[in-house]
Every structure is written in structure tokens, then in C-alpha cells.
Symmetry: C3
Subunit: 341 residues, 3 copies
């Protein structure tokens, strides 16, 4: 039987005001997009691009901000942050799945690992080495490798094929998606007359509470001290974080970002997809960096930062592209002209 709740109670649950009292008893059993939501589902509106869909929706109600009420003909659940309302509603209707209790017979778990078999779930083909310590309700999915001595806090979840190398410590409620590698060696090489000598990587990786780490993301261990990911940080897929990087609390980083070694990112930052950040920099709190930007210097003030040039039709771009090589010369010629005036 599917979970259902009436519209008025849903409003209370998510902190929204129901604007059509006559609908308060309507049973709601899910959330869907504006175009798909049926008469017992709610939807949400947060992005102006979808105003046409809002006008046409058959949803039981729409979660939206008061400024958008007038575009909506069905009952409204009005709140300041409708995206948060969507998140809360989706969580309400989709509680996390249950996992089988204990160790799967095909997993290999060292006898020197420490955990309460009644409260953890260890998936098939997983490897847990000696000295590992798992908190309560930890779920380690199939195909994971948990290296020697790693500590994993309560309620963490490793989906599948996750690799944690020795020196990694996870806080509580950390979620790690498939293919992520935490605690691999940092890229440290000393040059000896042209040849590279490996610098042993002796630090660890400390992951705070409520961190989420995307698929195929990599976080290197520190060289001498630790790489640290602050509480509540959200990392998307295919992010690379170099050794000794520090990321402040509640910062969110989108896919394909690379952060070179020893850089510190502040708290509450938002870094869009494909950004590259050089090593040994300091990025302040509350900094937003837009997609594809390259950051070669520290950022000392909060704000929105960007780099890069516009996408153009190739022929046009080519002309501007070649002119860029002479920009300095152009600036000097302009100055010469100004002096002659």
C-alpha cells in the first residue's frame, strides 16, 4: 500500500501555506513534474522556464513562491523556498530503502574489523580489511574495498564499488556513490636530475558529517597532514580534489571540478561544473564561481566570479581568437592614438 497524506497535512509537514482550503482533504500520494503530475500528486515551480507547464498542470497542487501564485490555476502550497518544499515532499514519499542485515556470504571481512553485525549491511563481493571500524546502521554496498584501519561513522552509506584507502575517516551520514576513490596517494614527486622521485603520502582524508560524494570523484590523502572535507559539503560526480585541500562547511561543488593541492576553499561556497582551481590558493567563504572558470589566484572577497570567453559560430570565433594574440599591442596602439589627440 502506498503512503498517502492529505494536502493540508502535507503543507504543515513542509512548512507551506495551502491557498485553497477546500482542497485540504485531498489525499496526496506522490510528487511529479508539472506535466506528469496526476490528480493525487503535487508538483513544484521554481524555474521561470517552465511557466507554460505551470499554466497547464493537472497536479493536485503546486508548491511555489507567493510571487508566482497568479500563474497557477490549481491549488497552491505557498512557501518562500519551494525547492526546499519539493525536497521535503520527495523525501516524505520516498523513504530510504531497507538493506539486508549483516555480512553477505560473498563479502570478505577481516576478523579484525569491528562492527555490530546486527546493525550494518555489507554487500556481496565487498572487502573490509583489518582494523576497520563501522558505526551503527552503516551500509556498504557491493564491490567496495575498505582499506586497513578506516573509521566509518553511524548511518554512512557507500552505494557500490567505492574504494576507501587507508587513512580515511568518515563522519556520520556520509553518502558515497559508485566509483569514488577516497584516500588515494596525492601527486607528489620531487625532481632528481630530470627523473621523478615519489614523495610518500603520509596524511589521511577526514570527511565531515553529512557529506555526499558523487560517482567517480577522487579525493587524495594529504602528503604530511590531512585533506579535509567539512561538514555538509556536497560533491558531484568526477570531481578531483588534490592532497591537503581543505573544503569549508556546506560548500557545494558541481561535476568535473578539479582542485589542486593545498588549496583552501571557504564555507558556503558554490562552485559550478568544470571549474579548475590551482594549488596553494585561498578562496573566501560565500564565493560563487561560474561554470568552466579557471582560478589561478586566491579570492579574498565573497561574490560571484567568472572567467572565459563566449561561445560563437566557429568562423566568427576564429577571427576574435586570433585578434586575442594582439590584444596587448592593440591596447598600446590605442594609447598612442589617444596621446596624439
Amino acid at each position: 500500500m502506498k503512503f498517502s497524506i492529505n494536502l493540508a497535512d502535507l503543507g504543515t509537514e513542509i512548512g507551506a501555506t495551502l491557498k485553497e482550503a477546500s482542497s485540504s482533504d485531498l489525499p496526496i500520494s506522490g510528487i511529479a513534474t508539472l506535466m506528469r503530475a496526476g490528480k493525487h500528486e503535487v508538483s513544484f515551480f521554481t524555474n521561470g522556464l517552465y511557466r507554460d507547464e505551470l499554466a497547464k498542470t493537472s497536479a493536485a497542487a503546486v508548491i511555489l513562491a507567493s510571487k508566482d501564485e497568479r500563474f497557477c490555476k490549481v491549488p497552491k502550497l505557498v512557501m518562500e523556498n519551494p525547492y526546499l518544499g519539493y525536497a521535503k515532499t520527495a523525501r516524505l514519499f520516498n523513504p530510504p530503502p531497507c538493506y539486508p542485515q549483516g555480512k553477505h556470504p560473498t563479502a570478505w571481512v577481516s576478523e579484525e574489523a569491528i562492527f555490530d553485525e546486527a546493525s550494518v549491511s555489507i554487500g556481496p563481493q565487498t572487502v573490509i580489511e583489518a582494523g576497520v571500524k563501522l558505526g551503527r546502521n552503516v551500509v556498504i554496498g557491493p564491490g567496495c574495498v575498505i582499506g586497513k584501519g578506516i573509521k566509518i561513522g553511524d548511518n554512512c552509506q557507500l552505494i557500490a564499488n567505492v574504494t576507501l584507502c587507508t587513512g580515511t575517516v568518515l563522519g556520520q551520514r556520509v553518502i558515497i556513490h559508485p566509483g569514488a576513490v577516497i584516500g588515494s596517494d596525492g601527486f607528489g614527486n620531487a625532481n632528481d636530475a630530470g627523473k621523478w622521485v615519489k614523495v610518500p603520502q603520509l596524511g589521511g582524508v577526514i570527511i565531515g558529517d553529512d557529506v555526499e560524494i558523487g560517482a567517480n570523484t577522487t579525493i587524495d590523502k594529504g602528503a604530511l597532514e590531512d585533506t579535509t572535507i567539512g561538514e555538509g559539503v556536497k560533491l558531484d560526480n568526477q570531481i578531483q580534489i588534490g592532497h591537503n585541500v581543505q573544503i569549508g562547511e556546506h560548500t557545494a561543488i558541481a561535476g568535473c571540478v578539479g582542485i589542486a593541492g593545498s588549496t583552501r576553499i571557504g564555507r558556503y561556497c558554490m562552485i559550478a561544473g568544470g571549474v579548475g582551481i590551482a594549488g596553494h590558493l585561498n578562496i573566501s567563504d560565500y564565493v560563487h564561481i561560474t561554470g568552466g572558470s579557471i582560478v589561478l589566484q586566491s579570492i579574498h572577497e565573497k561574490g560571484i566570479y567568472s572567467s572565459g570567453t563566449p561561445l560563437e559560430q566557429n568562423r566568427r570565433w576564429h577571427r576574435n581568437y586570433h585578434r586575442f594574440k594582439h590584444l596587448d599591442e592593440m591596447a598600446k596602439r590605442l594609447q598612442t592614438l589617444e596621446r596624439r589627440q
Copy 2:
């Protein structure tokens, strides 16, 4: 014994015209580069950079376009699309390998998975969860994890260490290379007074027929609806595809491309390596985007698009780089001068 075919029959097989009738009986047993091909191997010529090699080749024959015939002293297999001739010849001499039938004893396969043991191959250490349904002649290589309820069409091949998360559906003849992760959670977080609340990702990933997915590529499941990859799409390595992205049929995307959530890419597009595409955009059919471009706006017309600045010696670049900060000011100063004329 190695498979061999005479030159005339090879021409017929690949749709080329043999331009040296006296060689029609020559037995051919393989394809190699212009420099390496021996007297019973053919080669091909498609890239003007290799004209010297063409002149020097000892190949039994060269597959090439009629405009290049005159540069070639050995027999010619002439066709409009010699690269296609190369592909067909290489396929002819290198049929796909055979795989051991049935389930490897070290694989863990749920009793609730559905497949015909006589026609599938399941490699060592692989995990197949409950409700999975495999089509005929499916090959699941070693170390894969196939989550609950996933459907895999006939003749699909997962090379090794592939992770498919619940909600993924593969068409027929899909090839997935190692380390790829399909159906991991999209990056959805709602901000609640500075902290991030996870938005459950409830959609799936629908992969069309004849799609190929490269090593360590990641494709996220949709938030509410599905992420869809159209028929015949080819994805290289380390591509990141966000939730709810739609990619049209027969589009090819090279390595290290990132596509943010909810963007739609048209059919027959070609996206070169390292391109970044922002979220919620629309890219038309037949769009080509050149390497390293950053796409922040929709593209409504077919054509070739680019962004970025030229690579230069660091000292020169540095001067132009700093001038870019004052480009707007330069434009205004130029205008001022023009007005004074």
C-alpha cells in the same frame, strides 16, 4: 588458422572499387597502418598528415578516396568514405571474441534475476541483484554490479567493473566500458538556511540501442523523470552527464565532456573533448562544438561552435591575459576616439 579473403572480394565486402584488377586474387589477412602493413595486409588513408607514409607504404592495397589515388603507388580500394572501409575491414578480420557460457562460480547472482543461462556470460566476482532481467547473448564481465530490477537488452556487453544502479534500462547491443557508472543519484540539493537538504533522485536512465559508453563515464538518474541517451549515441571516456539530460540519436561525444542537468542535446551532434555545457539548455540537431569550449547558452541553429583563446608562449599570453580585464574600457575609449574624428 587466420581468416583470409582475396582483394577483389574484400572490395565487394566493404563497397570499394579495386583499381588494380591484376591484384584481385591477392589473399588479404589483415589491416595495418601505412608504415606497418605487409604484403598480405591492406591499409587506409584518410588524413592528409600521413601523405608521406602513403607514398612509402608496402601494403597490398590502400583504401582511399578517389581524390587521393594519385598519391598511392600500390593497388587502391577506392570509395567515398575510406574510414568506413577501414572500420568494415577491421571488423571483418577481428570478429568479437567468444565468452564462456553461463555464470562464473565466483559471481553472485540473485535467485530472483531472470535470464537464460545458456545464452548469457556472467564473469567472476560480478554481482547481479534481484529482479534483474538479461536479454539473450548478454555478456557481463568481471567485477560488475547490476542493481535491483535493471533490464538489459539482447547482445549488450559490459566489459568489467561496470556499475549499473537501480532504475537503469539498457536497449540492445549496448557496450559499456570499465569503471562506468550509470544511474547514480543526480546532484540535487535544496538550500535550507545555508545547509543542503538532499533531493531524492527518483527517475531512471534509459539507454537506447547501439549506444557505447566509455571508461569511467558517469550518467546520473533523473530527479523525477528519466535521463535518456538516444539510439546510436557514442560516448567516450570520463564524460559526466547530469540528471534529466536528454541526448538525441546518433550524437557522438568525446572524452572529458560535462553536461549539466536538464540540458537537451539534439541528434547527430558532435561534441569534441573537454567541452562543458551548462544546465537547462537546448542544443539543436547537427551542432558541432569544438574542443574545450564552454557552452553557457542554448544553440538554436546547426553549425560549428567554439569558445576560448589561443595558446601562446606564457610571457606573451600574460600580457594579453591582463589586457582582457580592460577590454570593455578599451572598447569605450575606441568609441570616444571615433566620435572625436
Copy 3:
């Protein structure tokens, strides 16, 4: 018991001159950062950013260059390349760990694999296919997949969850970090009236001695010939190397770099993070490319190369960004003005 060595002997060991003879008998048991090093630990100084820490350090001694001696109040180990001194010291105090001998009971190893059980270590859940040949002292960590016929030289180490596909050959002392995929199919597709036909990838990947390959890095096999990674090359995480690429000896490449097919990189190059290099290019020896650069043409001379525009506050950037579209026109207008003078 922890290994310890006196300061004078440490100096001899790493090739440094001890500048405080009175401290020569001081027992040293480790290396740490300037801020953390205790009275029996040495530290090192190579980056001017940390001069304050140098002044305040309580280390037993600091490894540094003679030009920095005057900033240091504690005993000094003076040498030309203090970063190399750091590497050597860290190696001295941290010898590689020991690995369990032989094949783990949960690994699956083909009876047709060739190795000396007394000298190799094969981790849990690993797969080793037929015809694989392992040299002496090879360590294959947990969850790896080693495809048919692969040759691995003496003293190689695959940390965990590494995938090597058929056609791969590793020299001696190669280190490969988790999630790396070597020898997956190159991205080869021929267009047949809009649809893509897969080009079989028939080459291999040849990895030289002393190469290190980072987490989730991918190296494709060649189309007809081999992809080759020269001796002593160091590759960081999440690098993508296309088919038929050749990388010269002792080149170092940082994270998130993508190199498209058939490009040749010279020897002793340094390529910083996030660089993208197009296909079929030639990059000379001793070329340095700075972070985030896009390389669309060959580089024929050694030197430092860069591309890209500066990061700016979004509002300022936006103005310059739009002006870039008219750069060619601006150049022409400037020329017109000059002619009128």
C-alpha cells in the same frame, strides 16, 4: 619500535650539509610540516608562502636551500633541491608496507596465469584471467580485474579496483591507483550515412618502467598500433589518454588533463591540471603547459605555454566577455583610426 637516525647521518643519507655541527647526534624519527614538527622530527622549506612558519618552527632541523638559511633559527640541512631532500627523508621513515604472500582465497585466478606464488600478493575478490604473467614481487590489491594475456613486470603495485584490459603490458615498478582503467577501447567510430560504425580497437597499451598512474585515470588501447607511456612518466588522477597517444619519458601530468587520440607528448614535459590537448598534435620535449590551457596546435619549441582569460568579479567579466565577440571589429576600427591620422 620506531626507526630513528641521527641528524648527521640523515644529512649524509639525503645529500645535505648539516649547518649546526653541535646537533649531529640528535636522534630523528620522522618528518613533519614546519608547524607540526616536534623536537625529534625534521621539516623542509621550499615554498616562500610558508616563511612565517619557518621562523616559528620547533623542528629538530629544516631541510632548505642555502638562500633561505638566514630565515631559519633551528639547525639546517642545506641542499640545492630541498624538495628532493624531503622526498628522500619521507621515504626513509616510511618504507612501503608488507603485503600478505600469495593468492587470497576469495580471488579468482585462472589456472593458466603464470606467476611465482611465493613472491606475489593477490588481494581479495581480484580476478586474474588466463595467460596473465606476473613478475616477481607484484602486488595486486583487492577488487582488481586483470584481463587475458596481460604482462606485469617485477615490483609493480596495483592498489585496488584497478582494471587492466587485454593488450596491456606494464614495465617494472609501475604503481596504479584505484579506479584506473588501462587498455579500454579507444573512441573510434566511422560515420555511415549518419550512423556510427564501431572501429575495432586492435592495439595495446605499453607502460614503461617506474610509471605511476593516478586514481580513475583512463588510458585507451591503440586502434591498430599501441598507446605508449614512456619510462618514469607520472600521471595524476582523472586523466584521459586517447588511443595511440605517445607520452615521452619522465613527463609529469597533473589531474583532469585530457589528451586526444594520436597526439605525441615529448619527454620531460610538465602539464598542469585541467589542460586539454587535441588529437594528432606533436608537443616537443621540455614543454610546460599551465593549468586549464586548451591546446589546439602542435608545439615545436620548448618553453612555457598558456591560454585562457583572467577570473574576475562576474559583473566586470560579463562586460569584457561580451566585448570579446567584437574583438575583430575593434581591431579593424582601430586600424581605420590609425590610417586617418
